[in-house]
Every structure is written in C-alpha cells, then in structure tokens.
Amino acid sequence: MSSPIELNIDHVANLARLALTPEEKAEFAQQLGDVLHHIEQLSKVDVSQVEATAHAFPVYNVWAEDVAQPGLPVELALQNAPAQRNHMIVVPKVME
C-alpha cells in the first residue's frame, strides 16, 4: 500500500522532536500508510449523534486540599540528571 499523501513525515517528526534517518522515514511512511489505511475504515461509522469518550468512568471534581507536603531533596531530584551544576540542570545555551 502506498503512503497517504497527507502524512508529511518530516513535519511530524519535527513536531515530535525526533531525528529520523532517510531509511526510517521511508520505512515508517510505508508502514504507517498501511496502518492509516486500516484506520480509514472508521470513516464508515456514523458518529454524528455520538459523544466522545475521554474517560471510561468519568467522575467530576477529583482534587486535593491545598496543603503543602514535603518534596524531593534536591540531591534526589537531580540524581538522574545527565548534567548538573549549582543544583540546576545544565543544557546547551538556550536562545530565547
């Protein structure tokens, strides 16, 4: 099956912040084309009178009272950091 023209894989990969090799792009475009083709069948269903299900069992007003609890000690908070300095996460310079 051919890939649907709409799936602009470069654009989508950019949104997803995912670098893909040319091989991956070609492979994914073909495979996802098949999947999207399978998904096409949903357009047969008349959903005009149907509400969307966002939660299997929706309940309202699930919250907690505003009472502060202890958090993570900074050492534990940063224990998995790829790079840190002065108790902060280091990233390459961000231009705003």
């Binding site: 939660h55 929706p58 309202y60 502060a68 609890q69 202890p70 958090g71 996460i89 990233v91």
Partner: protein, 482 residues
C-alpha cells in the same frame, strides 16, 4: 492617513496557593534552586497530576470579580510543545472549555487634570483559564541552567478581547486588573517576581477600517510601564513600516524595556502546532450554584466601586480617593479612622499625606504600621478641639509613626499643648490687628479670608502654641468691634 491600534492582552497571573496546581509540593518564590520539586514537578516516569482545590476556588473568585460566566463544566487539555523549562514538554491548560468565559475589566482613562476624574469604560474579556507555570532558565556564557521551583505554580491566563485602543488604555487595564487580583487575595501580582506577566497582540488599521490588520505578538513586557512603552513603540513601528510602503509580518517580537527596542523571535511559519487534546489523567470540573455562592461571599468590593462610594458617602475629594482605593488595606484603614473620628476628609488627609509619607520613609508596610486608625481619630479630635495646632499635630504625627505612642501622650511628653491664656491671647490679637490696617480694611469690606493675615503674627508671638480655635474666635470678636 491616520491609523488606529487594535490591542488584545494576554495576562498570566500566578495564583497564591500553598502547594502547586497539580501536586502538593510547596509553591513559592526565592527558595534555593530545585528545592520545590517532587516527582510530579520533574515529570519523572510514572507520575500523575492531581488538581489543587484552592486554585479552582481562586480562579472562580477572579471570574466572579470580573463578571465572567463560570462554566458549569470545564476540562483539562494538554498543550504540547518542547521547551527545557517545561518538564513534561506539555502544559496542562484549558483549550476549548475554559472555566471563566466573558467578563470585563473597568478602567479609568486619564482625566483632564490630576484632580479630575477621567472617563470610565470597560475592557471586555474573552476568557480566563487555569494552567501551570513553567520552570526558569538562567543563561550563562556557554550554557543554560534550569530551576524547576516555579514549574507547576498555578497560573491564570486572562485573555482580553482585541478592544484596547492605546498604550494608555492597556496601562489602565493592567492597573485595574492587578488591583482586582490583589483585592481578591488571588495573587500578589508582583511583576518583579513574575507573578503577573503580560503579552500583547497588536495590529494597526486605517481609521474607519473594520477589518483587523496583521497582528504582532509582543512578549516579555515585564513591568506595567514596559507594557505601555512597548505597545507605544510597536504601534509606531507598525505605522512606520506601513507608511514606508512595507507590510506587517505576523510574528512574535521580544520587547527590551531597557533599550526601548524590539526584535523578532519567530514568524508565523515557525508558529507552534500545540496538538491540544483532553488530558486523560485529570477529571473534568463541575461548578454548581452553591460553590459559586460560597465564593461570592468571599468577593470584596472592587476599587472603582469603593471610589464611587467614598465620593458620595464621605464627600472626600477625588484626588484623595484615587490614592486610597488602590490598596484594599489602606482603604479599610481610612474607613475605620473616618468612622472613629467622624471627620472623613481630615482622616483622609492625614492618611494620604502624612501616613503614606512616614511609611515610605521608614520602608514599613501598612500592616506593620505603628499608627492605627484610633491614633488618627484621636489626632483629628485634638486638632479640632484646639488642643494642638496644625503645626504641632504634624510633629505629633512623625513622633507617633516612630513610637506608636498615642497622640495625647506625645502632646504631654513634648509639651505641645496649645496656649490658652485668654488675656495674653487677646493682647496679641489686638497688636496684630493694629499692625495690619490693610487687612482690616479688606475684612471690613467683606473679604472673610483676610482674617488669616492676622493669625500669623499671633502664632509667632505665642511661639506656635496658641489654640487656633481660640485665636479664630478672639479675632472675630475683636474685628466685629473694630
């Protein structure tokens, strides 16, 4: 050709809560880096958000104060974009079902003079929604350091309709909005601490045109004056572009308040695709009448309503009200003092002129003031009864601001009680009248105020301790005979 500006403001206001909006670690400002985090704030694998009830109460209050419709049901959406200050790389926000819809902010435009009330009008709101704040980036020469203390702080986004017409109106809008939030106890709105942040969408069009021009988003307007300056600058920039034959590009620009310049951050082509969708981790919120009613009872009178009441109820001048109303505590202080002494104008004068001056000299907040409404009332009574002169009362005020002693105690301690020896006083009055025949003639001719010319020499002779009320009475009696 004449151009008019069309401005819409997006204001982010941090809500003052103990804990964050979707987890219970403490929210706060000025703490050591990354000490206000937990697995949820850091978006560690496996964590889930839980709503903060107090943040919902606060935004409902904001909505009621601003006349919004509170949506019976609202929900949570994810706004997806990558940025290192955003731990999940999506922000939990509200997209198509915000909690507050519509509403308006009352503003006052500048009057014709400082003591003249300006025109009042309303800026319509589109919506207010609740979302979470991001962390903070600190930039260094070669890298940036991320602190997530701020991440997850509850944030209200207040979106105005594009109905603001000038930088002046934007300034008035923010002033009023800020006061409303502070009045409601919703936020401290300290712009230096980032508790209130403003972005402006600005376009221009020829006067008479009804379609909107291409809008430019102006970011990082981090003080109310910068908002005004930035908008003014942007309007001028756009007019200059159009007049020189150019076209406005839809873009986001960064305004630098220090240099008064702006530069492009990104154009429409680079605009985000946020891929909003309902957050499956959070349940929707249903606000019923009882909840709204409960919050309604916590809603204070707003500044401009207070001002209208002060003008009619206390008959005090506009200039005094326009100082008193912007600070809820100050307005309350005034009302207590006014009630205690029954002399609103005198109380207002002491508060606006002397109390604020002393507080600012000593860098003391009103809440920590040693001067109480009772002090003010007692001082007004001492002046009215002629126990102290106005000049002496000024001295008493400075003393009580510093010591917190009662005015009567200070008068005793400093020996500031007015001179009341009637014979001596009458002698000084006679001498003063005799020394100023010109003023006597004017008084006789019906110029009542000429009497004041005799008072100075009397006070001088009395070394400032003459009872002003008695001086006035004595002079009137002698002048009637003269």
């Amino acid at each position: 050709m004449n151009y008019e500006a069309v401005i819409g403001l997006e204001v982010h206001v941090q809500i003052k809560t103990h804990s964050k909006v979707f987890t219970r670690v403490a929210a706060g400002y000025g703490q050591p880096e990354n000490t206000l985090t937990d697995p949820v704030v850091l978006a560690l694998p496996g964590v889930l958000p839980v709503m903060n009830k107090a943040a919902l109460d606060a935004i409902i209050k904001a909505g009621l104060l601003l006349g919004c419709e509170i949506a019976p049901i609202c929900k949570w959406d994810r706004k997806n974009y990558f940025y290192p200050d955003s731990p999940k790389n999506y922000q939990i926000s509200q997209y198509d079902q915000p909690i507050c819809v519509g509403g308006r902010v009352e503003i006052e435009l500048p009057g014709s003079a400082r003591n003249v009330m300006g025109e009042h009008t309303h800026i319509a709101l589109t919506r207010i929604h609740l979302e979470e704040d991001v962390g903070k980036l600190n930039h260094f020469a070669h890298d940036s350091l991320v602190d997530y203390n701020r991440a997850g702080t509850p944030l209200m986004e207040i979106v105005s309709e594009p109905v603001i017409r000038s930088a002046e109106e934007a300034y008035a809008y923010l002033t009023s909005l800020r006061a409303t939030m502070i009045y409601g106890g919703i936020s401290d709105c300290d712009m230096e601490k980032g508790q209130l942040r403003c972005d402006a969408n600005i376009s221009i069009r020829p006067v008479g045109e009804t379609r909107l021009g291409t809008k430019v988003e102006l970011k990082n307007l981090n003080s109310i004056s910068f908002v005004r300056d930035g908008i003014e600058h942007e309007i001028k920039r756009q007019i200059a572009v159009v007049q020189s034959g150019g076209t406005i590009v839809q873009e986001t620009r960064d305004y630098d308040g220090m240099t008064g310049t702006s530069q492009s951050l990104r154009t429409k082509e680079m605009a985000h695709d946020y891929r909003y969708f309902p957050d499956p981790d959070l349940m929707p919120v249903k606000v019923d009448a009882a909840w709204k009613a409960r919050i309604q009872t916590e809603c204070p009178e707003l500044p401009f309503d207070k001002q209208r009441r002060f003008l009619t109820q206390y008959q005090i001048p506009y200039t005094l009200t326009s100082v008193l109303i912007w600070d809820r505590a100050l307005a309350n202080f005034f009302e207590q003092a006014a009630k205690l002494c029954g002399r609103p104008q005198a109380a207002a004068n002491w508060i606006v002129n002397d109390l604020l001056r002393e507080l600012s000299h000593a860098q003391v907040a009103l809440a920590d003031s040693k001067v109480t409404p009772a002090h003010i009332a007692e001082l007004v009574a001492l002046v009215d009864s002629g126990t102290v002169t106005n000049n002496a009362a000024k001295e008493v005020f400075v003393d009580m601001a510093a010591t917190g002693d009662k005015p009567g105690v200070i008068v005793e301690r400093k020996g500031l009680k007015a001179e009341t020896n009637a014979d001596e006083l009458e002698g000084w009055c006679r001498e003063s009248i005799a020394a100023n025949p010109k003023a006597l003639a004017e008084f006789k001719a019906g110029k009542e105020s000429a009497i004041n010319a005799f008072k100075g020499p009397v006070m001088k002779a009395a070394k400032g301790k003459a009872n002003p009320k008695l001086v006035d009475e004595t002079l009137h009696r002698l002048l009637a005979q003269a």
